[in-house]
Subunit: 371 residues, 2 copies
């Protein structure tokens, strides 16, 4: 055992990491392409059967007339909002304060498209109908992220969603779905992707979250919307001569993982229950997961928690997370995201690791109390 | 022989196609990854040894402190011009009327970055010092494309380039190189990529033209420039979680093809000579190529030339081009771009095909004269 090891190192070396489908390495590409004939022609700047067949498949899956394969969701979503903004003649769009476009894209939406987002809801809960009702009249588009990743993957009730959709339709406000993890919420809602998408005018899905492809995104909607998005895709520099490394791997992993979304969801529910049953100074958000993900919150600082997680990982072999995120002044949290790996873990190892984690937290409490 | 066949079909079925390195198919990816260990970790949003090592390699090759791997040249070059525009506090940039940004990018530079390009030179020749001297004082950046692809891959004299560079430096105007085909001009100029790049403040090179990778581009310059370009790369949606399918294949083909640039250039010179020696109603631009490419111009319409090319291709097996481009009212032309394939062609087949093409053009002339 090394004297100093980072949490990321401990996680990467652990024989039983909890998150995801597996390592993000070149094998992901090699596996996807192993059985693909080398004679298959590349797509060419958005044309060709490789990209067109994939787009048709996703359009069907999402219940929309057309879809377009993009290199990234960042590109796809900025473009969706720009199209709706241009159509409405209004620069105003609305989304959650922890929306990907607001916090992870270096303000591309503002710097490139000059859109003016207004922030709906507070930071702790998803967007509700009441937030949408409180918007000014000239908002061109509302973006909803389902599940809301940065707050542990929370969801509104389905009836709330239906009400938001009905309101936006009545008012002529476009409704866009950030469905980076759309397939992952279908088991909880008990609705197909197509049913959920029917509430929205445009939809983005990621091919490398729950589906576990290499990179890429799909944007779906009406035919004219899709065609316009292709023009913007070229403007953004996303209309690559060849996107097939992402497209063919997306299709490969789609076939394998779409049928497993219920397993991932159930794994998350089970693991969150273990966490919550064990020690009061940590808890999950949501308490009962509604997708394959949740956050684990602690009343300990990053600096206090890190050595404990490293120790328990090294003792049990179970990797909890590779990174802790600070939260206000005293706490921290991490994200759990269930994929293929979880079903392969020895359950007794996971139980032992979480029990041991609880013990360490308890003994820390006793030390703190005796000071 | 089918009764109707398109030029593209005839070209794709021809046993001896003249252009490029080979088919753009999945085999290009499979070959590049065959010997790469599956355990190699993916790059992650622009970090990790896979992308950093590649960027270091290109920075060294181009003689710049830093380089950044991009999904596309469209994205890289818009960003380069935006950075120089912001630094100068001027929206004015200058380039050739047939610049890629002006004619192939759906006006991304104007629609996303609101830059105001002024067009230098006329459409038939490269940009010269006199064009640059005639610019207004507040131009932030001049972009030079070497070779100028849309006019057959023409180049200015190297002394002209040096004079433009010296002038821009003296005036504080940034000079950006569209070096999509930079490596392809090193044999003619008798200068290394590094020497040519030393005349420029920023440089873009493509990894899928002469190098024959799958897709992608590299932008190089000073360290601060590179760092700023990463921020814009994220804004554009180009900071993908994984770019390794493009990066590792770029490095694989770089090793194989960088040493062959002189062969490609010499092949182009030889083939252009064959074309020019054969019939007066076609000619190449440039007459003597200065890179691996040239255009073949005809005083015939697309509709007149197409059946002749198809016939000669079917008779000899030599594919000339998959597409003709119209030129003014009476003429048309096509692009020739020499890669790995040319050296493998039976020379007598190529000579026979061009001789036969000349005969057909001659007999067409006689028919026309006798009408």
């Amino acid at each position: 055992m090394r004297l100093t090891i980072t949490l990321a190192e401990a996680y990467n070396e652990a024989p039983y990491p909890v998150n995801g489908h597996g390592k993000r390495n070149v094998q992901v590409l090699k596996e996807a392409f192993e059985m693909i004939d080398g004679e298959v022609d590349s797509d060419m700047y958005g044309s060709g059967s490789v990209i067109e067949q994939c787009q048709d498949r996703f359009a069907q899956l999402l219940g929309k007339p057309a879809s377009v394969f993009f290199p990234s969701g960042t590109m796809a979503q900025q473009i969706a909002l720009r199209i709706w903004s241009d159509a409405a003649g209004s620069k105003k769009v609305a989304y959650h304060p922890l929306c990907h476009l607001e916090i992870h894209e270096q303000d591309g939406l503002k710097k490139l498209h000059h859109l003016e987002p207004m922030l709906l809801a507070d930071m702790t809960r998803p967007v509700l109908l009441s937030d949408v009702l409180g918007m000014p009249d000239d908002v061109a588009c509302v973006l909803l992220e389902l599940p809301q990743r940065e707050i542990g993957g929370q969801l509104p009730d389905y009836a709330e969603l239906e009400a938001i959709s009905a309101h936006c339709r009545a008012k002529g406000i476009k409704l866009h779905l950030d469905g980076a993890r759309l397939f992952e919420i279908t088991p909880y809602y008990g609705r197909s992707a197509e049913q959920i998408c029917s509430l929205f005018d445009s939809v983005y899905v990621s091919v490398y979250k729950g589906l576990g492809g290499i990179a890429g995104a799909v944007l779906a909607g009406e035919y004219d919307f899709a065609e316009e998005s292709k023009v913007w895709k070229r403007r953004h520099g996303g209309d690559l001569i060849s996107l097939y490394p992402y497209i063919l791997s997306a299709e490969y992993y789609l076939e394998r993982r779409l049928p497993r979304m219920a397993d991932y969801y159930e794994g998350a529910v089970q693991l969150a229950e273990l966490y919550n049953g064990c020690h009061a100074s940590k808890w999950t958000v949501p308490q009962v997961p509604v997708s394959n993900m949740f956050h684990v919150h602690y009343d300990l600082s990053k600096e206090e928690l890190e050595p404990i997680l490293i120790e328990v990982t090294q003792q049990t072999g179970v990797g909890f997370t590779h990174v802790l995120r600070p939260k206000n002044e005293t706490g921290c949290y991490y994200e759990v995201s269930i994929g293929d790996r979880y079903a392969e873990l020895p359950q007794e190892k996971v139980r032992e690791a979480i029990r041991l984690l609880g013990e360490r937290l308890n003994s820390l409490d006793r030390q703190t109390q005796s000071l």
